[in-house]
């Protein structure tokens, strides 16, 4: 059984930061699954198999939460008592929203025209902005420790991730 009170960073032996070497996360993940994965306990007692299932699922969940930038930022904020996606404050800067709405409209037009190239362009734009935003989030979290102030940037990051996923789905729909 793994200690379920340990946080995700402690579980992988990583510093509590937004930026870290992804290779360290991957190798810690593989090392932990190498111990707890049900395949490693398939010949063991029923109890041990159940514990392996729970532990392995817990490691997968922690890995997912640290691998994805939005989930990682949200998690890091939650460790500092900040709920990034609290429903009571959902405001985003007007200029930001306007830019994304325009992109969504271009994507929808491209989708209707069956223009995969234009969709790829929108997707690349969204990802480029998300990349820059990640730098800002990293600096707010890792340098300034500005937990509450980082909230807005993290919300924007999530907005961009959703938009990218939607455009990606439009592209996938054209793959048929």
């Amino acid at each position: 059984m793994i200690d379920f009170s340990r946080n995700h960073f402690e579980l992988f032996g990583l510093p509590e930061r937004f930026r870290f070497d992804p290779a360290m996360l991957d190798s810690a993940y593989h090392a932990l699954q190498g111990e707890v994965h049900p395949d490693r306990h398939a010949a063991a007692s029923a109890t041990e198999q159940r514990i392996a299932l729970q532990s392995s699922a817990r490691v997968n969940e922690a890995y997912r939460a640290l691998k994805d930038p939005v989930a990682r930022a949200q998690y890091l904020l939650s460790l500092h008592g900040v709920d990034a996606f609290d429903e009571t404050n959902t405001a985003l800067p007007f200029a930001f929203l306007e830019r994304q709405l325009e992109r969504r409209e271009s994507a929808e037009t491209a989708m209707a025209d069956g223009d995969a190239q234009a969709l790829e362009t929108v997707l690349a734009d969204v990802r480029a902005e998300a990349g820059e935003l990640e730098h800002r989030v990293a600096s707010l979290l890792d340098v300034d420790g500005a937990w509450a102030a980082a909230r807005g940037a993290v919300r924007e990051l999530r907005f961009l991730a959703k938009l990218a996923a939607d455009v990606d789905a439009m592209l996938a729909a054209q793959d048929n």
């Binding site: 032996g13 994965h37 395949d39 010949a43 299932l53 392995s56 990606d168 793959d175």
Partner: protein
């Protein structure tokens, strides 16, 4: 000088060193069984040396035939000779694209379709169990012993209903299922270990009736599936059918009898196979009314009439790459699996798409069974040095719940690494609502009606509250077989309801045990003897792993805990040679309970060791 070994007087009988384990590829067209012998995976042939068992079951007047014997009579007795039963697994009549393609007498039943045969009404699970039983008997004869367990492969794109049906069939065949393993993943294990491959690979697996594409990352002994996609009703059968339709049209034939239909379907397969090696092939057949079909089909025409089918495989390939966040140029190699990948037009299309010739240096018919055998050997506990590789697989289709308005709320997205546990809170819609209905679905579509319904259950007895006040937490757990269980819990009252998802398309546990009891091989004394034998195997197994655990980590126990465990071990030793299966099972249970905390602490130690080892690595 070698010393003779003497075991401790109170040690349990030492179980055989090598536990017999097999990998089974239960295919649409052919099935295989393989094992690891002296460290090398090998397919076990039948007594005539055939490695492949045609997945055909004939319910004859004097009993059931499986394989080549059934194949011989299929054109004569098509309605009692079941081919491609895999396409029916976990499927209702409404799911079958064109039921007239099958010459069977279908019976519509809630859940899975049934077939009327000479031997009575049969479910696809029972028919598949006949194939699995034949393979078990073959393996037990060849290995001269009872199997400890089997890894059974399934298409990666099989949904929960199809997986559950496969597992049920294996149980019915008397197999202890160590794991359901995805076919492309099995192939990746066999290929990757054999070639010491590193990097990102695509496994393109076109079988007789199913298509899978899996993208895997291979890094230092870790096989990590990044994404999978496919079509669980697309395969070589469909290419046969195109050729069959071409024959009907070219020869201007009227609607045919079931016998002639089956004859021409077999002919179509032959033609397809011939075209792998030849540019053209004659199509000659004599129908039951004495008329003759005399045609010739060339490769160009064959390619033309199957273009759409080939293109149909590329959609899933693109979606899998997209889900993995990759492009064709990121792929180091494309491994071809499944007999249907022998078709030249498939190899050309895949080569063109990835911009590199696909890897065809392994037997596409055997590689899945070999990979399954390697996995089975490790899971059974026969781990040897070099076997410390790890497999991380995913679920192919999102799992979710029905919410208001017939919409799906996804709880576990597709391509999540398994095992996975995910929970979500829901609330009540009306004031004073005392029950909620949980409808579990699988699929990617927004509307519930477009997804596969897996199960329904209700959580009743919620204390009356204002709408939106109740907190119902629904937890999805997918195990390493890719099988789902769901539980719901009302947080304020602690009320709980849980089910292992037995899809509306599956068979209930009661049905399975009835079938087991019904089967002739399980007469009454037989049942008792079998129960005792199974209890002994289980007790020995647990005693063995407990002794190993005590030897390795016994220091984690207090003297009192150690005494409890030793006591439980002594009980097993005392009971194992008796005739009381129930008492032996109870003692096994007791040992299981007594070692619960111990197992948890050992897991913790393993976790600590994994991280320590890693930081040491990082320093050097």
């Amino acid at each position: 000088m070698a010393l003779l070994q003497i075991s401790e007087p109170d040690a349990p009988p030492v179980p055989r060193e090598q536990r017999l384990a097999v990998g089974i590829d239960l295919g649409t067209t052919n099935s295989l069984v393989a094992t690891v012998r002296n460290g090398i995976p090998v397919v076990l042939p039948d007594e005539r040396g055939h490695p492949l068992l045609p997945s055909i079951v004939h319910y004859g007047e004097f009993g059931v035939d499986v394989g080549h014997a059934a194949q011989l009579v299929q054109a004569r007795d098509p309605q009692n000779t079941i081919v491609s039963v895999k396409r029916l697994m976990g499927r209702g009549l409404a799911d079958l694209p064109d039921e007239r393609r099958f010459p069977y007498r279908f019976i519509e039943e809630p859940g899975m379709v049934r077939l009327a045969t000479r031997a009575g009404v049969k479910s696809p699970v029972e028919i598949s169990a006949e194939i699995l039983r034949a393979l078990r008997v073959r393996a037990e004869a060849s290995l001269a012993g009872k199997l400890a367990g089997a890894v059974v492969t399934v298409p990666a794109y099989f949904d929960d209903a199809q997986r559950q049906a496969t597992k049920d069939a294996a149980k019915l065949a008397g197999l202890d299922v160590l794991r359901l393993l995805n076919e492309p993943t099995a192939a990746a294990i066999a290929y990757g270990l054999d070639n010491a491959a590193q990097g990102t690979y695509a496994i393109y697996d076109l079988g007789g009736g199913t298509f899978d594409i899996s993208i895997l990352k291979l890094t230092r002994g870790v096989f990590e599936v990044l994404a999978t996609n496919g079509d669980s009703a697309l395969g070589g059968d469909d290419f046969d059918h195109r050729v069959y339709c071409w024959i009907l049209e070219a020869a201007g034939l009227p609607p045919l009898s079931p016998e002639d239909t089956r004859l021409l379907m077999m002919k179509a397969r032959e033609v397809k196979e011939n075209l792998t090696l030849h540019d053209a092939t004659p199509v000659i057949a004599r129908l039951s009314d004495g008329s003759k079909v005399d045609l010739s089909l060339d490769g160009e025409t064959f390619t033309a009439i199957t273009t759409q089918l080939v293109a149909k495989t590329l959609g899933p390939v693109k979606r899998a790459l997209r889900d993995a966040g990759l492009t064709p140029a990121d792929i180091q190699g494309v491994v071809m699996v499944g007999g249907s990948t022998r078709m030249p037009q498939i190899q050309r299309a895949v080569g063109d798409f990835f911009g590199q010739p696909p890897l065809t240096n392994l037997d596409p018919d055997q590689v899945v069974a070999l990979g399954a055998a390697i996995q089975a050997n490790v899971l059974a506990g026969n781990r040897a040095t070099g076997d410390d590789w790890l497999l991380l697989d995913v679920i192919p289709l999102s799992l979710g719940l029905e919410t208001m308005g017939g919409l799906t709320e996804k709880i576990v997205p597709r391509n999540s690494t398994i095992p996975v546990t995910r929970a979500q809170e829901f609330t009540t819609f009306k004031d004073g609502q005392t029950a909620i209905a949980v409808h579990v679905v699988q699929g990617e579509r927004e509307r519930v009606a477009d997804c596969r319904s897996l199960a329904r259950f209700e959580l009743r007895g919620i204390p009356p509250m204002a709408a939106g006040a109740a907190r119902v937490k629904v937890t999805f757990q997918v195990d390493a077989d890719g099988l789902l269980s769901v539980s719901a819990r009302e947080q304020t009252s602690g009320l709980e309801a849980a089910i292992v998802v037995k899809p509306s398309y599956g068979l209930s546990d009661a049905e399975i045990s009835r079938m087991l009891e019904d089967s002739v091989a399980h007469a009454a004394d037989d049942m008792a003897a079998r129960a005792l034998a199974e209890a002994r195997v289980e007790a020995d197994q647990l005693a063995m792993v407990t002794h190993a655990a005590l030897a390795a980590d016994g220091d984690l126990l207090s003297p009192a805990e150690r005494r409890t465990i030793d006591g439980a071990l002594a009980d097993i030793l005392r009971l194992r040679d008796g005739a009381d299966a129930k008492a032996l099972l109870a003692a096994t249970d007791a040992l299981n309970r007594a070692t619960g905390d111990f197992a948890a602490r050992r897991m913790d130690r393993g976790v600590a060791r994994a991280l320590t080892g890693r930081s040491v690595d990082a320093l050097t």
